[in-house]
């Protein structure tokens, strides 16, 4: 069992941990706190990391658990995930939608749209579409069966598609 973690790999994973933390918390400052707590937990549990395995996925797992444990509020969000009802922005989603360098308004819009997804769907979507984790890995990270991963992913994508269809300019509507 390794008695340490590869520091360069850890630092290399930081930007992605930070990004995932923002998606989880919806708050820049809380995100960094979550990353910090995750790192501390990772060091505590360093003997559980299998050297050579994907450090990033392992860290995502820890972050997911730390986040679930820290914010009982999120549990309710989880419970609501299956309802798939409300399209209002998630409570506490405060990632600023900054004007990007490019003129692609849709880029800043999509950040807000992510926040309107239930947390459970948001997690799966980001891990699959952005982090490009394998579905099995996502199941491990979130501690759910792969079937749950797929259904959440499917719903997240459908919701996102509908949001875009609602807000997109007529030019982008594809019939």
């Amino acid at each position: 069992m390794p008695d340490t973690l590869p520091n360069p790999d850890l630092i290399a994973a930081l930007p992605r941990l930070r990004r995932y933390a923002r998606v989880l918390t919806g708050d820049m400052h809380r995100a960094d706190d979550l990353v910090q707590d995750t790192l501390a937990r990772a060091w505590e549990k360093r003997r559980l990391w299998q050297a050579g395995s994907d450090l990033r996925a392992w860290l995502f797992t820890i972050m997911h658990n730390v986040h679930v444990n820290q914010f009982s509020l999120r549990q309710r969000e989880y419970a609501q995930a299956s309802l798939d009802a409300d399209d209002g922005p998630a409570a506490g989603w405060e990632i600023p939608v900054r004007p990007t360098q490019s003129d692609r308004v849709e880029l800043s819009e999509v950040v807000g749209q992510i926040g309107r997804l239930p947390l459970a769907q948001r997690e799966v979507l980001i891990l699959a579409a952005v982090e490009e984790l394998r579905y099995e890995e996502i199941g491990d990270v979130l501690g759910v069966p792969i079937g749950t991963v797929m259904s959440r992913l499917s719903r997240a994508r459908e919701k996102l598609r509908r949001m875009n269809a609602d807000t997109a300019s007529p030019l982008k509507v594809v019939k």
């Binding site: 998606v23 579409a129 952005v130």
Partner: protein, 266 residues
């Protein structure tokens, strides 16, 4: 392969996310070529993926906060600590030893009346006032009783000016001088050759054991000093060390006698 498994919703996602096996990828691609509606869904998923990455990838380029970089390194109780524990234990012991030594030094200084600074203070005070021909003292010997009463009150313990006439030094007078924490009393004496010596008395808060005479020479001024109870005494003068020691012995003897019978001077 038209004989492949029927396309599922999961296939579309997995195809868009490049998570299918090479064989299945070929099958699904072939099926999508026949089903434009399904191909459209896959294209939509890919477009979403690209949009999400384009929106969130810029976050990766943001500078990292220092606290996160620190948290990425081995924690204080991590690997480094375990590896260096023996060395650190030795170092800690050393630090504790030095700290105790330092504290002990403080205690020693207190007990011994801060020997170095006390002797230097005595020498500097002597050099300053003994050189002053017109006003070496605040209160002249003519008012000795008033002088002693005043200084005793200011130092908050009974003082007396030793009588050094037997060894050729007569009292000039005295003054209050600044000390480290508390004021000190300075008695000045002069012999027939106009050589001056001074006795500096200072009382500290902490009682100490008696110490032997100590000698120091500061800026040409010889100083004999000692601690008696919590009181520091210093005899200073630009005179011969042997002569100064003789003075110190007389002073010491008189003060000892005074303490044995601490009644006000008649």
């Amino acid at each position: 392969m038209s004989s492949g498994l029927p396309l599922s919703d999961d296939d579309l996602h997995a195809f868009a996310d490049n998570q299918l096996s090479p064989e299945r990828t070929v099958e699904v691609a072939a099926a999508l070529a026949r089903e434009p509606a399904l191909a459209g869904r896959v294209a939509e998923i890919k477009r979403q993926n690209a949009l999400l990455r384009d929106a969130l990838d810029p976050w990766l380029a943001e500078p990292l906060p220092a606290k996160l970089l620190r948290a990425s390194a081995d924690p204080p109780h991590g690997r480094l600590w375990r590896r260096l524990r023996p060395a650190l234990a030795v170092a800690a012991t050393l630090v504790i030893g030095v700290a105790l030594g330092w504290l002990g030094r403080e205690q020693m200084l207190r007990l011994e009346g801060t020997p170095i600074t006390f002797s230097r203070q005595a020498a500097l005070t002597h050099a300053l006032y003994a050189a002053d021909q017109n006003r070496p003292v605040e209160v002249w010997a003519a008012d000795e009783q008033r002088l002693v009463t005043w200084l005793s009150k200011r130092l908050n313990f009974p003082l007396r000016a030793p009588d050094l006439n037997s060894i050729g030094f007569s009292l000039v007078g005295g003054r209050l001088v600044a000390g480290n924490e508390k004021p000190g009393a300075l008695f000045m004496y002069e012999n027939a050759d106009k050589q001056r010596i001074s006795l500096l008395v200072r009382k500290d808060d902490v009682a100490s054991h008696e110490t032997a005479f100590r000698y120091a020479k500061e800026d040409g001024v010889s100083v004999f000093y000692w601690i008696d109870d919590s009181c520091g005494y210093a005899i200073s003068g630009r005179i011969d060390k042997t002569q100064l020691l003789a003075v110190a012995r007389v002073v010491y003897g008189q003060l000892a006698a005074f303490e044995a019978a601490p009644s006000p001077r008649p």
